[in-house]
Amino acid sequence: MADTLEQLATQGDPGTLTSEDQASRIQLLDPQQLYELWEKQHWLSHEIDFSRDKDHWANLTDEERDYFVWGLAAFFIGEERVTTQFCGLVMAYEDESEEAFLTTQQVDEARHSQFFDRFYREVIGIDDPSWEQRLGRVREELNDSFVKLFDEVLVEANQRLIADPASLEAKVDFCTTYHMVIEGTLALTGQNFITTYLENNDLLPGFVDGFRKVARDEHRHVAYGTWFLKEKCGSDEAMGARMRATLHELLPVASGVLVPKGADPNDWEMLGYTSAEVNEFAFKALSRRLKAIGVPLVAEAPEEVPA
């Protein structure tokens, strides 16, 4: 049986001392540099050309269509959730550069929602008249782990920041939840396999164009989260332990989000990729990023997340 993301994480990080030394020297873009990068990488979701995608969609196999309807639902609903559940972090800025960057990320999430809404309307054919009705239909595809992570964990983390934007603990919890788990582990993994599959099969060119731009935005977001957590947790043992505890709590939920609808959670396939391949990619991405932060995963039993 293949290791799940949760099982891989509890084994700790198998990296070498040499590479940890290299990771500690990585210099990261700060929020001002990331803001300036956002200006250079601006794009328009309503200019993506879906003209060839509708025919491609009609010619997909049933298995491909079923997978994309399920897999892209998590992105569409996820982007909508984050657009609103991100405002606490914007309120928690510590200087003007960070304020500027964080507002760009919230705008990015709205842009991504617009992109997926267009794709569902114009290509998939979800043509309910209101945005809310379309979201409601797409939500029917989601599994319980998604609902737990996006409707409960993320919402609570955001509410704690809104209640106390000056709380470093709440800010670390939010960035661990959002930038490390939701974007850095789940979204980038899904994007990698979906984009690679579509590119290899020359499918849905408009969607691929937009999805690459969404991914580029998310790389910038993850870069911010990595910078912030390195600043606050990289040399603070208590904050590092807090990050690890949050990760150990959330990775089992995240592991469930990756399981296609109706599949065996321990052994599944998507688009020809096995669950072992998908989980290994997700774990590798997370563990390398944690090394850059200076908080590598450890195999010991995690501490409880302090209230």
Partner: protein, 82 residues
């Protein structure tokens, strides 16, 4: 597009002496930067965690390799220009 401001993220010193025209110098010149986060790929160091041994030129990295910081793909890297 020119490399992002992280050009301040200068490559780390290599263990080899910098002899002009040597193989070490040629490898050192082949430094690439991630456009999304500023991570610098220095072939003298490689990316051991990512399965890339020290001394590997950027062109020889597999296409499915990705940035260890932000997850960007190899195609999202640009050659580092001082």
């Amino acid at each position: 597009m020119s490399p992002p401001a992280a050009a301040s993220a200068a490559p780390t010193p290599a263990s080899q002496p910098r002899t002009p025209g040597s193989e070490a110098e040629r490898v050192r010149a082949d430094v690439w930067v991630c456009e999304s986060c500023g991570f610098v790929y220095d072939p003298a160091e490689g990316d051991p965690d990512g399965g890339i041994p020290p001394g590997t030129a950027f062109a020889d990295i597999p296409d499915d390799w990705f940035c260890p910081v932000c997850g960007a793909r190899k195609s999202d890297f640009k050659r580092y220009e001082e």
